[in-house]
């Protein structure tokens, strides 16, 4: 039997079922519509979380302080050994002036170790030079990358008396500064040694004297894997430190996404089981009413596998109609929901609800899986029934 004949005969049988086809098509369409809405919501929330959490370097920083208020080098060493921690450095900052012959600006310079520079700039293979500055690009300035400049800072000479000094520096790069809790917004970045030198001068000490017994207000730990931030912070807490990190507030977002996904998933499964049962029932009814003609087809030489193929065409037509209908309705529904939700403005981010090619393929796969699983038994039963029983019973 030719493939075109299977389609032609299968389509005629589908037409013959008429309105009986509507129920499984509607049920499976609603199931897939819900599946797409839930998947799109889940994807949108997850991508929003990724955008605001995972892709945001600021949330990879954990601010750690001790109960007595001072962090020492030994504390920093302990923190470095916690799993998932890339680096730990003390909070060091210095309010400075930067000037050249064109202008004078001020910024809060924070010191970072060279191995952490990738979390402050997108520039690859950048290494902080001794007097290099990664200038905050949000500070209004005509200074550009590579410009020579001078750092203007205060050096203590006596109690309550200081003098301004200058240090040659270079603008190594301009950066979008990360958000660091309790840091001012005007932060720029330099090597930790440079900032410590400036601070030592402010206290009237040499760098060696300054580093003899350093005490820091807090330490900053960097945990590159966003999924490990909570775990690392918990360990710091267990070690007796106090932690503060932006992800603490964002913890609930992935949980909400998971709840939506789980509840929706159960609903979708229930609907798909219902759709499957409906398809099984319709196909069963349709085939039972055709036992007489199935018998004659078997008698005149149609083989079991040919009949299975023929009935499969009917199920395929139901599946394809359900697929296109569900994708069309899903697209319309998602656009309406997207506009409604965004107009409500209850979230900080914009919901973008759409159907990806993968989602459409997943819908198609689910529809075919449900349809074929549901109809497999009635089709097998009808195609393998004894011809003599059919002809006698009809």
């Amino acid at each position: 039997m030719k493939t075109t004949d299977y389609y032609s005969l299968g389509f005629k049988n589908f037409q013959r079922n008429g309105k009986k086809n509507i129920a499984p098509i509607i049920i499976i369409t609603v199931g897939i519509l819900l599946f797409n809405i839930i998947t799109s919501f889940f994807t949108s929330i997850t991508s929003s979380v990724n955008e605001t959490v995972v892709d945001n370097s600021s949330l990879k920083f954990i601010h750690v302080s001790s109960v007595d208020g001072d962090m020492k080098d030994t504390d920093l060493e302990k923190l470095k050994n916690v799993e998932g921690v890339h680096s730990v450095f003390p909070r060091t900052e210095s309010f400075i002036g930067i000037e050249n012959n064109k202008e004078k600006i001020t910024t809060t310079l924070i010191g970072i170790p060279d191995n952490s520079i990738q979390y402050f700039t997108d520039e690859k293979n950048l290494s902080l030079s001794d007097n290099g500055i990664l200038l905050n690009k949000n500070i209004e300035s005509s200074l550009e990358k590579g410009d020579p400049t001078k750092i203007s800072y205060t050096v203590k000479v006596k109690e309550n008396e200081g003098i301004r000094k200058e240090l040659n520096a270079t603008i190594q790069s301009k950066i979008e500064p990360p958000y660091l809790i309790s840091f001012p917004e005007d932060i720029s970045v330099a090597s930790i040694e440079l900032v410590q030198t400036l601070n030592a001068g402010f206290l009237g000490l040499t760098l060696e004297e300054y580093l003899q017994n350093p005490r820091y207000q807090e330490a900053i730990a960097i945990v590159p894997d966003i999924n490990a931030v909570n775990e690392a912070a918990n360990q710091f807490d267990e070690m007796g430190y106090m932690t503060n990190y932006s992800l603490k507030a964002s913890k609930s977002i992935p949980v909400i996404a998971k709840i939506i996904g789980s509840v929706g998933g159960i609903l979708v499964i229930v609907l798909l089981v219902f759709a499957g049962t409906s398809i099984a029932s319709i196909i069963n009814q349709s085939l039972r009413s055709r036992y007489g003609e199935i018998g004659i087809m078997r008698a005149i030489g149609f083989k079991q596998k040919q009949l299975i193929k023929l009935f499969t065409v009917e199920v395929t037509i139901i599946s394809i109609i359900s697929f296109f209908l569900s994708i069309l309705l899903s697209f319309i529904a998602l656009k309406v929901i997207e506009q409604y939700v965004n107009n409500l403005g209850f979230a900080d981010y914009t919901f973008i609800l759409s159907i990806s090619a993968y989602q459409a393929l997943a819908s198609l796969a689910v529809i075919f899986l449900v349809s074929f699983l549901a109809s497999a038994y009635p089709i097998k039963k009808a195609s393998s029934i004894q011809v003599t029983d059919i002809l006698k019973g009809a």
């Binding site: 039997m1 030719k2 004949d5 005969l9 005629k12 049988n13 037409q15 013959r16 007489g292 003609e293 018998g295 004659i296 087809m297 078997r298 008698a299 005149i300 030489g301 149609f302 083989k303 040919q306 004894q386 011809v387 003599t388 002809l391 006698k392 009809a394």
Partner: protein, 228 residues
Amino acid sequence: MTNKPLMSVKKLSKNYKLNEQDISILRNVDLEIHEGELNVIMGPSGSGKSTLLSMMGLLDLPSGGEVQLMGKEISSYSHENLTDLRAEFLGFVFQDYHLVPNLSAQENVSLPLLLNKEMTKKEREEHSQKLLQSVGLSHRCSHFPSSLSGGEKQRVAIARALSNQPRIILADEPTGNVDTETELKIIEIFQQLKKQKVGMLIVTHNEIFKQYADHLYTLNQGELEKVV
């Protein structure tokens, strides 16, 4: 008529088990179908006529005995092989027609031809139109079974049975649901088939076939007896 039968059964028996009891439907049946012969089997209801037709039609396997088709013993053939043999050599006519309601008369007649991959759609259409013409229904080609009378449906079923150009026609009560006029038309078709050297086996209650039968048999309690 040649001496070699198109089909023959020897010592054919069929038993069923019902509540642990063996029930014998057919016992030691011997029968041959030759080219251009009309064989008629008559007998009361429950005598095993339809069961015998199923065995001869390769729709069911016997419990014992031999079945030969075109000179080959086929009792041990697989279902697949038997299906192929049915498609190639046999045509069936049933009392209840079993036409496909959503196919036109012509499409119903074309149904067995779908199994022939060599035939184009146009060839199938032409062939089925000729067959419908031969049973006097050329004007009903595009009509669906729901708009045909009982007699017309049966003639469409006969045309369908002939579409694969079978060597043997097996008919179960072919005039069971038709009026006298159609009955005569159907007998006329069978007479024409005889001229085309088609062998036929008809099981029926209809006494009219007695006068047209080349061989008349009666089947009583599973035993076949030749009358003429």
